[in-house]
Symmetry: C2
Subunit: 331 residues, 2 copies
C-alpha cells in the first residue's frame, strides 16, 4: 500500500485539503506549510498523477507525434520539444508513426483518451489531409508538414524557396541537367518539388522530377534506374532529405560514381557526417531548435487564446555551400 495525501495529512495533523494547497503552492500558514513539508519527506509521499489529472481536469501533457524518428531532423526537433516541455512542467507522450496513416490515426485517438492538453504533429500526407477537416478536443500544431490550407497552427520552413536556392546554386555552377528527388507521401516533398519546378523554369531548363518512395529498398531501385545509364544521367541532384540522401549515396557507391565529379549532390538537412562525404555536401540546414521552440510556444499560446485565428510560422533554412556542387559540364 502506497502512502497517499491522507497519510501525509494525518502525520502533519492537518486536513488533506491543506496538504494539497501546500503542494500546489497556494497561500498557507508558514507553520502548517513546514509541518506538511516535513510530513511529505518523512512519509516519502509521491502524488498520484492519475488521480490529480482526473480531479483537476487538466493533464499537463502534450502529445508529440512524428512520422519517422530515424530521420535526424525529427530526432532533433523532438529533443528540443521534450526539453522545453519538461522545463515548463509538461509531460510529453512521444509517438512514432513510421509514415503509417493508420498508426497516426490510432495515436491521435490515444491522445483523445489521454485528454492531452495539446498535440504537436508531423503528419503523413493522408494525415495532413484528414486533419484539415477534423475538429478535435485539443489544439494541434503541425510541424514540418502542413498543407497551407490546414485548419491548425503550423510551423514550417519555406520549402519552395529553399529548394529553389539549391537549384540556383547548381545552375550557377553550370549544371543544366538537374534532377529533383522528392518524397511521394508528404506535403513537404510536394512543396520542395514545386519550388524546384519553378526554379528550373526560371532558369530556363527542363526539370526532371523523380518521386521516391519512403521505403528504402524501393527508393534505391528508383534511384538506380535514374543513375545507371551514363548517357541519360543528370549531372546534379536536389535531394529532399537526409534519409533519401543516404540511399542516393549507396547507389552512387554501387555504380562507382564519384561525387562531385560524376554527380553533383545537394540536399536538405545538415548532419555532421555530411562534411566528410563527397568533399563536403552543400545543403539546406533546417533550424531544428527554432522549430521545436516555436511549436511549443505556439501550442501554449493557443491554449490561452483558443479562438485566435490559425497562424503559420514560416522559418528560413540556411544554405551551406560546401564542395559537392562541383562544376557542371557546360561551365
Amino acid at each position: 500500500m502506497n502512502v497517499g495525501i491522507k497519510d501525509v495529512a494525518r502525520v502533519a495533523a492537518v486536513s488533506p485539503a491543506t496538504v494539497s494547497r501546500v503542494l500546489a503552492g497556494r497561500p498557507v500558514d508558514p507553520d502548517m506549510r513546514d509541518r506538511v513539508m516535513a510530513a511529505v519527506h518523512e512519509t516519502g509521499y509521491r502524488p498520484n498523477l492519475a488521480a490529480r489529472r482526473l480531479r483537476s481536469r487538466h493533464t499537463n501533457t502534450i502529445g508529440l507525434i512524428v512520422a519517422d524518428i530515424r530521420n535526424p531532423f525529427f530526432t532533433a526537433v523532438s529533443r528540443t520539444v521534450e526539453a522545453i516541455a519538461y522545463d515548463r512542467g509538461l509531460r510529453v507522450i512521444f509517438c512514432n508513426t513510421d509514415e503509417d496513416a493508420a498508426k497516426e490515426a490510432m495515436y491521435l485517438q490515444l491522445m483523445q483518451e489521454e485528454r492531452v492538453t495539446g498535440v504537436i504533429l508531423a503528419p503523413t500526407r493522408e494525415g495532413a489531409d484528414r486533419i484539415a477537416h477534423v475538429e478535435s478536443d485539443f489544439p494541434i500544431v503541425l510541424i514540418d508538414r502542413a498543407a497551407p490550407n490546414a485548419s491548425c497552427d503550423s510551423v514550417v520552413i519555406d520549402n519552395a524557396a529553399m529548394a529553389a536556392k539549391l537549384v540556383v546554386h547548381l545552375h550557377r555552377l553550370g549544371h543544366r541537367r538537374i534532377a529533383g528527388l522528392f518524397g511521394t507521401d508528404t506535403v513537404t516533398g510536394r512543396e520542395r518539388c514545386d519550388g524546384y519546378g519553378r526554379a528550373m523554369e526560371e532558369c530556363g531548363i527542363p526539370g526532371q522530377v523523380v518521386p521516391v518512395p519512403h521505403e528504402r529498398e524501393q527508393a534505391q531501385r528508383v534511384i538506380t534506374a535514374l543513375l545507371e545509364d551514363a548517357s541519360r544521367r543528370p549531372s546534379a541532384l536536389v535531394v529532399s532529405n537526409s534519409v533519401m540522401l543516404q540511399s542516393v549515396l549507396r547507389v552512387a557507391d554501387a555504380l562507382e560514381l564519384e561525387i562531385p565529379r560524376d554527380l553533383a549532390l545537394t540536399s536538405f538537412d545538415n548532419e555532421p557526417w555530411m562534411e566528410f562525404v563527397g568533399g563536403g555536401l552543400s545543403v539546406i540546414e533546417q533550424p531544428v531548435e527554432e522549430i521545436g521552440r516555436a511549436a511549443v510556444t505556439m501550442l501554449m499560446d493557443r491554449l490561452d487564446h483558443a479562438d485566435c485565428v490559425t497562424r503559420r510560422v514560416v522559418l528560413a533554412g540556411r544554405f551551406i555551400a560546401r564542395g559537392s556542387g562541383g562544376r557542371g559540364a557546360e561551365a
Copy 2:
C-alpha cells in the same frame, strides 16, 4: 462537457458496469454487447484513461529513459521499444536525460508519480551506481549501460570482447600504435576501455587510453591534442561510438589527415553514412532491434515473476570490416 461511461449506459439502457465489462471484453450477453457498441459509436465515447488508471491501479505504461537521443543507437533502440510496447497495448513515456544525472533522477521520480508498470533505462554513470542501491516501486531493465553488479535486469552487448575485436583487427593489419577513445561518464565506455586494454596487452603493445568528454567542443579539443603532433600521432584509433566518431572525423578533416592513409579508424555503431567515409569505416554493429525487444520482453517477464533472480542478457555485436583499417606502418 465530454461524454462519459454513464452517458453510454443511458443510451444503451444498461448499467455503467455493463459498459465497462463490454469494453474490457468480459462475458456479456450478445444483445447487450451490441447495444453497448452501438451506443459507443453513436456517442463517440472515448474512455478517460486517467480515471481508468486511478481505479484499476494499473497504468499499462512503461517509461523509457535514454541518455542521448541524438545518438542513433538510442534512437534505433527507442523506435523498437516503442513499436513493441504499443503492439502490446502499453503506453510509453519517453525521456531524454542528455547525460545529466540530475535530470535522470527527476525523471525516475516522475515515473514513480506516474505509477508506471516498469522502466527501461540507459543510465548515466552516476545513475548506474545509484540504481544499484536504490529499491524502486517498479521493475527497471537497464540497457546498454549496466554495471555487472547491478540489482536490476539488464540487456547489454559484450563491450569488452567487441573492443578487443577491433584491436585485434587493427593489430593484424600491422598497426602498433593504437589509441583508444572512450567516454568518461559511462559504464559502457569503461567496459570497452577494459577490453581494449586487455587486448592491447595480449598483443604485446602498449595501450594509449584517451578519455573523451561527452560535450562536443571539449571532445574535439582532446582529440586535436591527440592527433595534431604528427610525430606522436597513433596510426590507428578505436572509437567508442558514432557521436565521438564524428568529432574525430571533424578534427581529422581540420588537420587534413586522410583516412585511412594517415589514420586508421574503427568504431562502435553502424550507420548508413559510414559506408562512404574514409573508404568505408570498419565498425562493430550493435543489434539494436534485439536489444529493444529483449528489454521489453524482460520487463514483461519480470512483472510476472517479481521475485526471480536478476538476469543479464549479453548480446554479441557484429564486426563489419570495410576499408578504414588501412595498413599499419610496420605491415
